[in-house]
Amino acid sequence: MRIGSHVLKLEKRATLSGWKAALISILAIIFALALLSLVFLLAGVNPLIAYHEIFSYAFVNQFGLPLTINRSIFVLLCTYAFIIPYKAGLWNIGMTGQLYAGSLFVLGIVVAFGGKQFSNPTLSPVLLIPFMLIAAMLGGAILGAIAGFLKGKFNVNEIVVTMMLNFIALWLVSFMIKEGGIFMKSGGEGESFELPKSLIAPLIKGIPFTILIALGLAVLIYYLFARTKIGYQIKAYGLSPAAARYAGMSTAMIPVLVFILGGALAGLAGYHYFAAVPGLYKIPKNYTDFGDMAFYGIICGLIAQGNPFAAIPVALLFGGLSNGGRFVQGQLQMNFGVDYALLGVLMISLVAFQFFYRYRFSWVHVEKEKFDVVIPHK
């Protein structure tokens, strides 16, 4: 573009500071909201009212806020599950399957200790809740390890493997909780049995204790990549497998390790939703809705650029908007999925704005060219 003697030019950025990256993300959010307000206008709704409803329900309302927080913890854990393999240059698309596997392991532990009989008084939460957490991580880790092993040993594409394991885990859950399954609720109904009262996760002001795990993990993951030898090796492998191999690192083990860690955290997300969020305490009939939500972990991880601290506000935003969007749809009687539309536009906008992480516009002063001969193509 040219105005007078100035030309608008696209330039490559040499560096990008943290706050500039944050600013670009905020601009992307504003842009997405502006774009979607056109959709609200077309639907005959005042966008200002719609956004007021969405944000006040998601982040202020006494009923909406806990829902937002519960969702955000879930999304945050899934984001971590994506980030760790991502640092090794690998894509974990299998958080859904891993969280299902983790949830099944949790129920398995409960069954093993005889907790399927309702309100068994002998079960000690002090002992069993840690067991359940470990089981959740183990389940997710095992499923993740399959993809990591195939990648490290045979260089099988991890995206395809994790994606397909999602389907296997999905139907495995169905097999286990529906008619005739080991985890079936007595009387069927396509749900799992409910956790005994004694095994209900402790709450902190109405929020499950898993919030502390989720926030604490940000510090641990940060430390893993900033300080430890294994984190260093993961980063090296992620940036250049050839260089990592040259430096004597095991290029077969690193994929296994990151998928074990990622899968374990996705397993925790399964524990969080199906065993710690108040009012659920089971794998419900519509469990795939929760499983699909795990995919937000991918986009949150990409937006956060693999930074676990940046993942916290991003996950909160996604948890809040999916919650508020669903609410406003009913409130204002709109006939389309506002939550999906909102998050879809937001994702595209955030990803598109990442262009500005690498480029920027600048005005360049140019002298007028005196004459020009452009060669015609022969």
């Binding site: 330039e11 490559k12 950025r13 040499a14 300080r227 430890t228 030898k229 294994i230 260093y232 090796q233 980063k235 090296a236 940036l239 250049s240 050839a242 260089a243 191999r245 040259y246 430096a247 004597g248 690192m249 095991s250 002298e367 004459f371 020009d372 001969v373 452009v374 060669i375 193509h377 022969k378």
Partner: protein, 515 residues
């Protein structure tokens, strides 16, 4: 026969005041350049002097921010290489841009406007053959490109440019991958072209004798500026080097006489496959003692890469033995070899030897992260690593703003210094240096070579692999020539000459040196 009525001495290409800026650097700063028909005008400069940028501008790959280009007095603007080709500019890239699965003639007519949709290979072949004969290129036009040697591929590229009617031929590092014999032939061809009123512009980094041998004029670039433009007849190698580097350069490397010690590395009958499962290394045996530099001369692709990868534990040996300090390490892991004090300087310093997005500290750690000194209970001691990196930067004169700079911001020479420093700071018993000076400028080359000699003085055994015969001959105590995965001979330094080693590199078995 090629040109359309051009007279000798007529100005064909002129560039005035070319300026190109990239973020943080002025790659070309007010560059003036001209070439007449029948002239060979070399452009000389170290890496980072702005040669590539200028070349890309002349070929239409980049647009200059300022400045004008004239072809036969007419102002032109290239929007793409197609414009440049149509205006009679031909380019032969250093890294060949040919379709490997196609035959030579198919590559030559690829994209030619006269080729049309139905290929008439016969008539094209006759025209190309006539060109090849005139300029002394011997290429089987029906052979597939992947079967051709580097020299033949280059000939195909030149023929391609000529067949498209190039009047100005830009050659990027024309002799970098050629044997001495091939180089000689190419220079003859270039001279014939100049006699036919073609304008030839070779871009050269450090092979000053080539510049002196063929060019009529030479333009020297330094830090994006033209520092000299002179008649070649009125200059000397020393003078050119000084203009290029900006300071006096000593050419002779002091070969150090070191008393040789016990054997460090013994390789017995080693063989290996390449990535395509073809036999790449075919029964190689040699040994290196403390205080010796063992040089392997050969054109790339004759098994050198496979040899060093087997020695580094990055590729499985198909047969044979590798013995380090008396211990069989044929099946040891890479990490184990590093811990047994093997140091390896890979040829691909950008993708293998370093990680561009890592800081210099993290890059230094690539050779140290496993040392107890730098990691305890799984936690890396970044403070110690930073201190080491700072020492390395100052001791080796790595030009970098600081230890937290990303490696991708370093020039090739500085990156190589960092890799070298990182490897040598472990006091290795054996140093494997694969093409350590490839693509480096004179100053950095001198530095790297002296460091290898220092390692030799410290009683390390050094395995040096290079395509540059001069480098091998001036540094090595033993010279082996490798051809198709086999040594054609192993010569002590006193007997190794350019002629006999060069012949062995080309696959000749010389009497008296049979293995």
């Amino acid at each position: 026969m090629v040109l359309k009525g051009i007279k000798r001495g007529e100005m064909v290409l002129e560039a005035r005041g070319i300026t190109k800026r990239f973020p943080g650097v002025v790659a070309n700063d007010q560059i003036n350049f001209e070439i007449k028909a029948g002239e060979i005008h070399a452009i000389l400069g170290e890496n980072g002097a702005g040669k590539t940028t200028l070349m890309n501008i002349l070929f239409g790959l980049l647009q200059p921010d300022e400045g004008e280009i004239y072809i036969r007095g007419e102002r032109v603007r290239f929007r793409s290489p197609l414009d440049a080709i149509n205006m009679g500019i031909g380019m032969v890239h250093q890294h060949r841009k040919l379709v490997a699965a196609h035959s030579a003639i198919e590559n030559i007519i690829l994209g030619h406007p006269r080729a049309g949709n139905i290929l008439n290979l016969k008539s094209a072949e006759q025209e190309v053959l006539a060109l090849a004969e005139r300029y002394g290129f011997k290429v089987d036009l029906k052979a597939k490109v992947w079967q051709l040697s580097e020299g033949e591929k280059q000939a195909v590229e030149i023929l391609k440019a000529l067949y498209r009617g190039a009047e100005v031929l830009i050659l990027d590092e024309p002799t970098s991958a050629l044997t001495p014999q091939e180089t000689e032939k190419l220079l003859e061809s270039i001279e014939t072209m100049a006699r036919d009123e073609l304008a030839v512009v070779p871009f050269i980094t450090h092979k000053l004798p080539i510049v002196l041998a063929i060019s009529h004029r030479v333009t020297v670039l330094r830090r994006g500026k033209v520092v000299a433009c002179m008649e070649t007849a009125q200059t000397t190698e020393k003078d050119l080097a000084m203009q290029m580097v900006g300071r006096e350069v000593i050419f002779r490397i002091e070969r150090a006489d070191v008393e040789k010690g016990k054997p460090v590395l013994q390789v017995e009958n080693l063989s290996a496959l390449n990535d395509k499962d073809f036999q790449a290394l075919n029964g190689v045996s040699f040994s290196i003692c403390e205080g010796e530099i063992f040089g392997i001369a050969g054109i790339s692709g004759n098994g050198q890469q496979e040899l060093v990868e087997v020695l580094a534990g990055l590729r499985n040996a198909q047969g044979g033995k590798v013995i380090l300090d008396g211990k069989d390490i044929t099946h040891a892991s890479t990490l184990e070899r590093w811990q047994r004090q093997i140091g390896y300087i890979p040829s691909d310093r950008i993708h293998v030897g370093s990680i561009g997005d890592f800081s210099l500290v993290e890059n230094t750690a690539l050779s140290h992260y496993y040392d107890d000194q730098f990691s305890r209970r799984g936690i890396l001691n970044y403070d110690a690593l930073r201190k080491l990196t700072e020492e390395v930067i100052s001791e080796y004169g790595v030009a970098a703003p600081g230890p937290e700079t990303k490696a991708k911001n370093l020039s090739g020479g500085n990156l190589q210094k960092l890799i070298l420093a990182r490897v040598l700071s472990r006091n290795p018993r054996l140093v494997i240096a694969n093409l350590p000076c490839q693509g480096l400028d004179i100053g950095a080359t001198e530095f790297v070579q002296n460091k290898l000699i220092e390692a030799k003085k410290e009683k390390a055994g050094v395995l040096l692999i290079s395509e540059d015969l001069d480098e091998i001959l001036s540094l090595s105590d033993w010279v082996a020539a490798i051809y198709e995965g086999k040594f054609m001979g192993i010569l002590p330094a006193g007997e190794a000459q350019k002629e006999n080693v060069g012949a062995m590199m080309a696959g000749l078995q010389l009497k008296g040196y049979e293995l």
